[in-house]
């Protein structure tokens, strides 16, 4: 088994606000882990604590069974939520610089920088200042800066925010490849569809403590039965709300997702749907991550 990141009883208060409340969890290497939670749940504080960027009131961070120190952290890569780059510095030199600060030789840092810029399709921007790049390209530079030294653990705070689908695919593929190469990849995001697509494991926190953790498959197949129903012309799903033993989980356009109690007969649901209009879809479905998220925090 590869290295494991372990958080043991992390606690942090800012005055009356509890940011971390005895948070403990384990994250194995070799997979992409989504770190989820509502705003203010303690995700960023947790990430900063791993890098020693915030003082802890209690608890400790371990990597491979040993407490994390400054030397260990040099083998980690970090991509903060807000841009952490020098706006006026050239792209190539900047990534090299971060590589050097993580212990690389000048030659190795330059070599790795060239490779990452090419991999992220911004090799032609080597001599451009970061401030002239688009948001998406700045995000790529930030990712290259986090990966240039081949870290064992990569932590990314909202790496997909503000990206177009092409940018999300490019960065997502890099993260998956890194995980498959044996790296421990953890990232936070509010784009749950992307998390579901990229991650093998998910951790959900709220109010500074762990709420749910498990693989995406485990979470998707757990819980009560779900029906996906599409009724032509139905825009509000009013027909389903009156059914007993049935809860409307999500509604997207004419598609409605229903959670059935154990003793609810799905045939009754189909009958009600047909009475409401022409049924174009009626099937049992997996639990979406967005549903897991909402139901966990309910």
């Amino acid at each position: 088994m590869g290295a494991v990141l372990e958080l043991r009883g992390l606690s942090r208060r800012y005055g009356d606000i509890v940011a971390l409340d005895d948070l403990s969890l384990k994250v194995p290497s070799g997979q992409v882990t989504g770190f989820l939670g509502p705003n203010g749940a303690g995700k960023t504080t947790t990430m900063r604590a791993i890098f020693g960027l915030t003082d802890l009131d209690g608890g400790s961070v371990h990597w491979n069974g040993k407490p994390v120190d400054q030397k260990t952290r040099r083998r980690f890569g970090y991509m903060p939520e807000e841009r952490g780059l020098y706006p006026g510095m050239h792209v190539g030199e900047q990534i090299e610089y971060f590589g050097r600060l993580h212990g690389m030789s000048s030659h190795d840092a330059a070599k790795s920088t060239g490779q990452w810029l090419e991999r992220l399709e911004i090799a032609n921007r080597w001599n451009d200042k970061v401030e002239v790049l688009s948001h998406g390209n700045q995000q790529r530079v930030q990712l290259a800066a986090a990966l240039v030294h081949q870290p064992e653990l990569i932590i990314l705070d909202e790496p997909l925010s503000g990206l177009d689908p092409v940018g999300i695919d490019a960065i997502g593929k890099v993260l998956v490849d890194q995980a498959h190469a044996g790296c421990c990849v953890i990232f936070s995001s509010h784009q749950l569809d992307q998390v579901e697509e990229l991650c093998e494991q998910v951790i959900i926190v709220d109010h500074g403590h762990l709420v749910v953790t498990g693989t995406v498959d485990e979470l998707a197949t757990s819980g009560p039965r779900r029906l996906v129903v599409r009724v032509e012309g139905d825009r509000d799903g009013a027909w389903a709300r009156s059914l007993s033993g049935v809860t409307v989980s999500e509604k997207r356009g004419s598609e409605i997702r229903l959670v059935l109690d154990d003793d609810t007969d799905s045939d009754l649901v189909l009958t009600a749907a047909m009475a409401a209009g022409k049924v174009t879809e009626f099937s049992f479905g997996r639990r979406r991550l967005s549903e897991v998220f909402r139901e966990s925090l309910a």
């Binding site: 190539g92 030199e93 600060l101 030659h107 060239g114 090799a123």
Partner: protein, 465 residues
């Protein structure tokens, strides 16, 4: 001399142009290397892992700098980035040129002193209205030679003609009938072509000669009298007053400008790293004290280099124009100012860095910078006053031992020659000890404040955190 100035300005502009062109070429070469690298690596791109293979893009100069910095560990790497970025910046280049021009002009202009010829010799066109005996003409020529003036006589047809020539500055002055001098304007005015020393000497000599003649002295007796030399004047102690020391005034201004400029760079640099959140990425890899130390060291080396260039340039220009700043105790004063610039920077850089870590926006920087600049301003204003008067009060001498004001006050005491070597050394040691204390305190503030976001940080918050 004007030609020298023009050539100097043109040379500076040419250097800037050439360096910008070389920089552009380097960038183009880097781009070309990248493209070549991409082409070479494209064949195996499909299977390439970033860790294993791929194009190598290098910038030779930056690698040399990086390797140099690496010898000093992470602090050296951080310092080299600061040096590279600062020196590359337009503010530094333009600022250096402006400072050099200002220093050059400050040295050259006082030496121009109405001179129009080369090699330090001034041509003085002297008009003669009426008659002037050869004996008097000889006196004027000899007075000119003594003042490094090459005297040319022009016989004027009339007084009006002489006035006309004086007004269009083709005459320095005119001698009217051997018993009066006529000038268009006071010789001391900068626009006057007349050498004021020559005018004054000629007036005095003519007066004496007329008196000697009136007294009935023979030409031999007159020569004997006029060749008389003063007896030596010996002093038991130095006088309390000294004339205005222009070198020290300029040095003091430069000390103030450079100290303020570089400390402000630190303040803004720390604030920008904090506001751009890049500090989070940096501190994920290095300790706060390393980051702070690298920044202070890097900017400090840039500052010291610029100061050395300015002083070196000042000495070169001074030698070229035969300025007084190479005479007497003035080189010592310059050296003392350089030493105190280093000590002043070492003391203030930590304070400004700590202040920068408490700010997140430009307006907060200004609020924080003002109180920090007060002791600098006090030291500067006091010192300018004392340098001008040549008199140091007891209060001023006390300021010379207080680290916040010592850079200015102690430099001034050296300039007016009112300090012993052991007093100078004592002040240096006090400042070094205070700097160590301030550095420890500032590093603590920096560590606690630089990662706090959401508005300006106050000391009270840090104490409670």
């Amino acid at each position: 001399m004007r030609e020298v100035i023009i050539i100097g300005v043109l040379a500076v502009v040419a250097i800037i142009r050439v360096s910008m062109r070389m920089r552009k070429r380097r960038q183009q070469a880097d781009q070309a290397a990248m493209v070549a690298g991409e082409e070479a690596g494209s064949a195996d791109q499909a299977t390439m892992s970033p860790a294993s293979t791929g194009p190598v893009a290098t910038t030779t100069s930056s690698h040399r700098a990086a390797n140099f910095g690496a010898r000093f560990g992470d602090v050296g790497i951080i310092a080299m980035r600061e040096i590279t970025e600062r020196v590359r910046g337009r503010i530094f280049r333009v600022g250096t040129v402006i400072i050099l021009l200002a220093v050059g002009l400050a040295i050259i202009i006082p030496n121009l002193n109405h001179r129009s010829g080369g090699s330090g010799v001034t041509t003085q066109e002297v008009g003669i209205v009426g008659s002037l005996s050869p004996e008097f003409q000889k006196v004027v020529v000899e007075a000119g030679t003594a003042d490094k003036d090459d005297v040319h006589f022009e016989t004027e047809s009339s007084l009006n003609q002489a006035k006309h020539n004086l007004r269009d500055n083709s005459l320095a002055f005119a001698i009217v009938n051997g018993d009066a001098l006529l000038l268009n304007e006071p010789a001391s005015d900068s626009s006057s072509p007349a050498d004021p020393t020559l005018v004054q000497n000629v007036a005095e000599y003519f007066g004496l000669l007329r008196s000697y003649h009136s007294a009935g002295l023979t030409p031999a007796q007159i020569r004997s009298v006029t060749n008389a030399q003063s007896i030596p004047v010996n002093l038991l102690s130095q006088g309390q007053k000294k004339k205005v020391n222009a070198t020290s005034v300029v040095g003091m201004i430069m000390l103030f400008v450079l100290l303020t400029q570089y400390c402000t760079w630190i303040l803004i640099g720390v604030m920008q790293e904090k506001s751009s959140r890049v500090v989070e990425v940096l501190l994920a890899a290095v300790r706060p004290i390393q980051l702070l130390g690298g920044k202070v060291l890097g900017i400090g080396l840039v500052a010291l280099s610029q100061a050395v260039v300015v002083v070196g340039f000042a000495l070169l220009v001074a030698k070229g124009v035969g300025s007084d700043i190479l005479k007497g105790s003035e080189p010592t004063a310059l050296l003392a100012e350089l030493v105190w610039f280093v000590l002043g920077y070492a003391f203030y850089c930590w304070v400004y860095a700590a202040a920068g870590s408490m700010a997140e926006r430009q307006d907060q920087v200004q609020t924080l910078a003002f109180p920090l600049s007060i002791p600098i301003l006090i030291g500067y204003i006091f010192s300018i006053t004392v340098v001008s008067s040549g008199n140091a009060s007891l209060l001023f001498k006390v300021l010379a031992y207080l680290p916040p004001t010592a850079p200015f006050a102690m430099s001034t005491l050296v300039a007016i020659n009112q300090v012993a070597w052991w007093q100078f050394l004592a002040s240096v040691l006090i400042t070094l000890a205070a700097t160590a204390g301030v550095a420890v305190f500032a590093a603590r503030i920096y560590s606690r404040a630089v990662l706090r976001t959401g508005g300006r940080v106050h000391l009270k918050q840090l104490r409670n955190s």
